[in-house]
């Protein structure tokens, strides 16, 4: 390089920009709680819904573990109850609708961080179906299967008998649509939302807890909101 070269000398601005970006990233992690409150306050006032595409825009997010999920409706939906029970049963959507319905309004908390406040769920208490089937004394847990063909979940019998665990038919005061896991999904109010299996098709009473789909991939089996998965969210019940 000769002496008139405009390069090879000069301030190392590139390095400063690089290190500055790293520093801002670290600062962002520390300042996130305050920043997040700010963005949520700004974004919650949006009537267009476009901000739903932005981070923390609120609302539900669609998660499925399979490539495609068959659609089921009143014509072909079936929910079976079997395993360690005296009276295995099979329910159509009409059967489930004819049973006593319970409505609850709680927050929904996903383990990935999003929370949807005050969401109404309505359906049949799981304990009602278990009592109708006659759970045997050797049973200790309930295993759930789904008609997406892959997802599974589990609860201990004690958890499954809680009054805030539903076989849900309605969400947000509408019949549950396909993308939200309809026509029937599990709703486990006090736990992270991955416990509320979508597209519920089978309830099997078992002796011991069999870890579900995400639980085999490192998620906690007892998924109490605020007391599991290393998170401290405000409990939903």
């Amino acid at each position: 390089m000769n002496s008139e070269s405009p390069q090879g000398r000069g301030a190392p601005v590139g390095r400063r920009v690089f290190l500055g970006t790293l520093g801002l990233g670290a600062l962002g992690i520390v300042a996130a709680p305050a920043l997040q409150r700010g963005t949520e306050a700004v974004l919650s006032g949006d009537p267009t819904g476009l901000t739903g595409l932005l981070p923390n825009g609120g609302g539900f997010r669609y998660y499925s573990v399979t490539s495609s999920v068959p659609h089921k409706d009143a014509k072909n939906y079936q929910l079976t109850v079997d395993g360690l029970v005296d009276r295995p049963a099979s329910y159509t959507l009409a059967d489930l609708r004819a049973l006593p319905q319970t409505r609850m309004v709680r927050d929904v908390q996903c383990v990935t961080g999003w929370r949807v406040p005050g969401t109404p769920f309505e359906g049949v208490r799981l304990s009602h179906l278990l009592d109708a089937a006659g759970v045997r004394s050797t049973a200790g847990a309930v295993h759930f299967t789904c008609f997406d063909g892959a997802y599974t979940e589990s609860l201990t019998l004690e958890q499954a008998r809680r009054a805030d665990v539903l076989v849900a038919l309605r969400m947000q005061d509408k019949d549950i649509g396909h993308s939200h896991g309809g026509p029937v999904r599990l709703y486990v109010a006090p736990m992270y939302f991955y416990k509320s299996a979508k597209w519920l098709s089978g309830i099997t009473v078992t002796q011991d807890v069999e870890p579900g789909f995400w639980e085999e991939r490192g998620y906690d089996i007892d998924a109490w909101v605020g007391r599991s998965n290393g998170r401290d969210d405000e409990p939903t019940t």
Binding site: V13, I29, Y62, S64
Partner: protein, 219 residues
């Protein structure tokens, strides 16, 4: 008829060659591999993040795994190419800002599009800032991504913060990348430089006059 310089003559006098060497093979392959990995990260991110796309493809566990490994691999091509002297020399050029870079930035801020007010060496000031910022942002994405992946490594408040930074920086990076690709789309000769390694002399004269002048004077 076009009068092409005699190849025998241009070999002896490279300043007359119609094409100017711009990027070495190592640099071009590093760019290509980085672009592919970044593309995989962006596409899988879209399928994880945008509800319409998530409903279309599902397979969440698989998409997550692909996203994670593409992210981990993202810095590898450039790190591997650090063995190349050409890349290290270009990193030096990208790092140092001279008075002409300040002029370029001032002109960019004032939307002054005249060539004379936008002097540039091998990389203009905009490209330099893009390179430095993209490198930093990629590492921030990698760090925050690792914090979300290996949840036991850091306390929860850090992880929540990492998620926040990862989400918003992803959006920013997406916009900036679109700008990077958009500018390349608008400049076929710049793309040819990255594809073949050399650019037309007229293009270099127009876009990077200080670079071309130095090449001449240093021979």
């Amino acid at each position: 008829m076009n009068r092409r310089p005699d190849p025998r003559q241009t070999a002896a006098r490279p300043e007359l060659a119609p094409r100017v060497r711009r990027f070495s093979a190592a640099e071009r392959w590093a760019h290509r591999a980085t672009a592919v990995l970044m593309g995989v990260c962006v596409v899988t991110a879209a399928f994880l993040y945008l509800p319409a796309l998530a409903e279309l493809i599902g397979r969440r566990a698989l998409v997550v795994t692909v996203h994670q490994w593409a992210g981990i691999a993202l810095p590898v091509p450039v790190l591997a190419a650090l063995g190349s002297r050409a890349l290290r020399a270009d990193l030096t050029l990208l790092n140092r800002f001279g008075p002409h870079d300040r002029r370029w930035l001032r002109a960019a801020l004032h939307r002054d599009k005249r060539r004379s007010s936008r002097p540039a060496h091998k990389f203009n000031a905009g490209q330099k800032i893009y390179a430095a910022w993209a490198a930093g942002a990629t590492l921030v994405m990698l760090g925050t991504g690792l914090m979300m992946w290996f949840t036991h490594l850091t306390p929860l408040t850090w992880r929540t913060g990492a998620t926040f930074v990862h989400d918003w920086l992803a959006l920013t990076l997406g916009v900036v990348l679109a700008g990077h690709i958009g500018m390349a789309m608008g400049d076929p000769e710049a793309r040819r430089g990255m594809r073949t390694g050399s650019v037309a002399r007229e293009w270099a004269e127009r876009e990077h006059p200080l670079w071309l002048r130095e090449r001449k004077s240093s021979r």
